[in-house]
Every structure is written in C-alpha cells, then in structure tokens.
C-alpha cells in the first residue's frame, strides 16, 4: 500500500536540511531567553485577548498612533502605541474605571515598568525597546489580568 506523506513546503524542507546538517546551532542567548520566558508567567491571571479596533481613517504614516485593545471578562485595556527614535511609547486606558490602588506592569521580556493607574484609568510608559509586550493589571481584590504578548515595532 502506498503511503502519501503530507506535502512538505519549502521552508520545512530547508529547515530539515539545516537541522540535519547541524551547521546553524541555536545561539546560547536564544536558549537563555527561552528559559527566562518561564519567569514571565502570571499564575492565576485572567487572560485579556486582543480584539479588533476600528481602522483609523485616512492615510497611514510611520508617525501614526496604533491602537491595541485587549479584553478580559470584566476589564478592557487599550494601548495607544507611538514610536519616537525607534523606541516605543505606550499610553494606556483601563476600563471600566478602576478602583483606587490599581496598578499596571508594562512588561517586555527584559524589563518591567510599574505604574499606578490614574483615577481616570490612564497610564503611560515611554522609551521602551521594540519587541514583545504584555501588560498586567492588578486591582485590589481581583485576580490579575494579563494581556496576550504582542509584538510592537516602530
């Protein structure tokens, strides 16, 4: 009986050849970064997943702000992304309006910036390196809410 193996696409074939050749080993810093990712989990957190935002009108340009929205059952986190000189600025809005003592942590794999959320639900972080981002929102008496990791590049 003839077996029909699933078609292998070019990328898989190239990857298999390289893997078998053993000439492109994984750099040590990639392994270290992958191990460190484990420290970024937030046990017991509720996930806020990305939801579509209305497409901005008009012509897009490099300077234009992007809006990301993440929703969990009882909390929405919006992030307005701008970039200056290759770095990322985030202006955030938590809704519904959070109670006093609510904090956010804006995280990249390498650093975390903590902010108190204002009475109007806003927070801001500037000058972050581009790459992967996630925001943890901690409200008194609630489980933390953590947004899905999202790649942000200028």
């Amino acid at each position: 009986m003839t077996r029909h193996p699933p078609a292998i696409d070019d990328e898989s074939l190239v990857a298999a050849l390289r893997l078998a050749a053993g000439r492109d080993p994984v750099p040590a810093h990639i392994l270290a970064a992958a191990r460190a990712v484990f420290g970024l989990r937030v046990p017991g957190a509720a996930a806020a997943v990305p939801t579509a935002t209305a497409a901005p009108l008009g012509v897009r340009s490099a300077e234009e702000a992007r809006l990301l929205r993440f929703t969990a059952a009882d909390l929405t986190v919006e992030l307005e992304v701008t970039s200056v000189d290759g770095l990322v600025d985030l202006a955030g809005q938590v809704s519904p309006l959070p109670e006093a003592g609510t904090t956010v942590e804006v995280r990249t794999p390498h650093l975390t910036q903590s902010r108190e959320v204002s009475a109007t639900g806003q927070f801001a972080v500037t000058g972050l390196p581009p790459g992967w981002f996630s925001v943890v929102c901690r409200r008194p008496g609630h489980y933390p809410v953590v947004t899905s990791w999202t790649r942000i590049r200028p």
Partner: protein
C-alpha cells in the same frame, strides 16, 4: 547533530504548569533546535529569528494549560514559530500595510487552534536516520542542486548574491533554481516514502 525527538510527556507539561523551571528548561532544550531552524528557513536575520523564537515561547507560556495532547506540543510550537517567522518575513518584504494590528498581526500570530496545527512531519519527528536519508538524497542529485542545497544549508547567513556567486550563477537565477531543486528533492523523498 540531530537528536531523536522524545515524546513530550504529560508529566513534563504538568510539572511546568505547576511552576517547575526544570521542566520548562527540558521543553526548551528539546525543541529549540527545531524552532531555530524553522524560523531561519524563512530567511530571517539572527535578530528577527530571535524575536520569532522568543514570541513562540511566550505564546507557549500563555497557552500551556490549553494543550491537551502532550504529543502535539512539538507541532504546536513549530506551527506558532512558522507563523511568527512568516509575519516577520512578509513585513521585511514590505507587505505589512494593514492598519489594525489586533486584526492582523495578532490574529495571524496567535496560538494555533486545536485541529489547525500543521503536522510538520519533517521537523517534528526528524530523527538522525531521517536526517542522513535527507542528505543521501541530496548527494544523489545532479548539479547545480547538490551544491546549491549544500551551500544553502551550511551557510545560513549568506545572502543571495554571495550564494549565487559561489555557485557561479547570476543572482536572479538563484531563487528559481533553488525552488526547482527543492521540488526535485521533495519528489525524490516522496518516491522513497512510497517504496515498501
């Protein structure tokens, strides 16, 4: 250089879910080589490849509790890595011109849903034997395929101009020739598979 792919057992996943760093490190050690190879196969720079691999592990941290079948964790990781790599590769070619990142980058790069995991047999279960079989097939090919595939696999950082120069062909011919060689190799492998 290619290690056998042991089945990622439920115990390792349970331990990682319970907060055991050593169990996580075991997953990293087991799958990093494959993830690196697959993202590099999209022609990504070392920095972009690092970004794609890191994103894949971040997605696993988010989704580990949803992976019901431990045998599929390898496929899940490879599928996720391919999506990340493909997005970056398209972006580098200037194809990322869509306004809403939540509806595009993220939806595309999100964790694969159950049932939509690319099986990726070539990589998930690439054993040392199969790696040798792959290279025996390449060695049986005619030129320029034999040299082209060897060079492509062993000089992962070389650009098209450099590769074409070393093969003595115009740069514009490299891509189409590579495509034909990969097709031929695929046909040879399929023919081998079909033999009893």
């Amino acid at each position: 250089m290619v290690s056998e792919a042991p089945v990622s057992d439920q115990h390792t996943i349970d331990a990682a879910l319970a907060g055991d760093q050593a169990a996580w490190d075991a997953l990293v050690a087991r799958f990093s080589g494959r993830l690196w190879s697959v993202v590099r196969a999209y022609g990504l720079s070392a920095a972009d490849a690092a970004d794609a691999v890191q994103g894949t592990w971040l997605r696993l941290v988010e989704n580990l509790h949803t992976i019901r079948d431990p045998d599929r964790i390898g496929s899940w990781l490879l599928t996720t890595a391919r999506r990340e790599a493909s997005l970056l590769s398209r972006r580098n070619r200037g194809e990322r011109l869509i306004a809403d990142p939540a509806a595009t980058e993220h939806a595309d790069s999100g964790p694969p849903r159950a049932g939509h995991v690319h099986p990726d047999p070539a990589l998930t279960v690439l054993s040392a034997d199969e790696g040798r079989r792959l290279w025996r097939a390449v060695e049986a090919m005619h030129e320029p395929c034999r040299s082209l595939l060897l060079l492509m696999a062993t000089a992962p950082d070389a650009g098209v101009h450099q590769l074409a120069g070393r093969l003595g062909m115009p740069s514009g011919s490299y891509g189409p020739t590579r495509g034909r060689c990969l097709n031929r190799l695929r046909t040879m492998l399929t023919a081998q598979e079909a033999q009893p």
